[in-house]
Symmetry: C2
Subunit: 203 residues, 2 copies
Amino acid sequence: MKRDSEKTRQRILSGLETLITREGFTGVGMNAAAREAGVDKVLIYRYFGSMGGLLEAFANEKKLCPRMEDIFDNLPDDTPHHEIATRIVLDHSRALQKSPLAQELVCWKLTEQNPLTIAFGKSMEQSGMRALAEMGIIPDEEIVTLVTVLICGLQHLILRGRNNNPMMNIDYSKPETREKVERVISSVIKTFFESREGESEKL
Amino acid sequence: MKRDSEKTRQRILSGLETLITREGFTGVGMNAAAREAGVDKVLIYRYFGSMGGLLEAFANEKKLCPRMEDIFDNLPDDTPHHEIATRIVLDHSRALQKSPLAQELVCWKLTEQNPLTIAFGKSMEQSGMRALAEMGIIPDEEIVTLVTVLICGLQHLILRGRNNNPMMNIDYSKPETREKVERVISSVIKTFFESREGESEKL
DNA sequence: ACCTGGTGTCACCAGTCGGTGATATACATC
DNA sequence: GATGTATATCACCGACTGGTGACACCAGGT
């Protein structure tokens, strides 16, 4: 093996990535990580100290959160709020849909707390908060709540779709199903916004 | 140990239950199951053949799905449809909230396919379908979709709440947060139903 | 040429895993 | 009491796990 510590570090980290995506988080371990990277496991201890250290480094140096394409760039200023909210929900779910790594991390986070899942959670949280802030009209708690529940719902459907676990016959791995769901999401957000505007007019 | 095969069978099964709820599904294994039940693991092989057989028996003989209290019993016949739909969503989530075992099984199902998770999935699916059927007005796909997404969203929030993983500052383990979310759910379902009624009148 | 420190390789440890064969013990039947 | 059978216990296997110490190698500096 060539003597290049930085390169082996990277080999280990990207080996971990393929390991997580291929075997799932239950398959992650010292020996497996070393095998996957084609490296003696003692090097992992040398460079990262422990499994926790490895996960932490992975969290710091890898892009965990699938980049949401910048949602608001090509939006005219007069875009209705409900349309922005819809975008947030749908873009979030599409980004997750595209990233098997992120999917596995969401799943991991639901079952275990470790440096990686914690960091991943924070990064997701930030991304979400930033999106909400950009929405302009944050202070309405109810709308934030609705958007959050919808995002969670889609996340859950995506995770179920991975192993063909339909829910109420909704198999989110099928594109036509996704389209249908997205239409409903868009519609429900629109009506909810309208109903709230109606109320505020009454006051 | 007393010689009572049926009793040891039950000891093994209920030991598995406490094992799952205490350690999570990642802690489930032959040795652990035997330890937990205070039984030699060879007995597990004798009675259940394999881990798969044990999980299958567990699925058949234990109540996996938290019984939704019969939602529709004390409902007057003229209860608005949107109220019924709301009940379905909220009762489903409250039932899950009460059952740590079911929560773990949902989580397990997202990461692995085995006799137990498969059976659990089917049982959840049936329960959901039955609820929808009772709702009377099934054929509206959009409403079914909305209800499903909302249920998924609440499921996800519940799972996050287990390990204090708030989402957009929504910590579903706090009762007051749950109340707020439930109010929004109820409200959004109501407005969605109303908007659809309005449309059908137009036709 | 010699040392030094960073790097990679190997061998090994104790502990746990899933899984199995042989054997002891209790109980019902004769 | 003797026999047979179902039940439970024990000992063990190979494979794998996380973790560590000893050593070989190869650079650069003196």
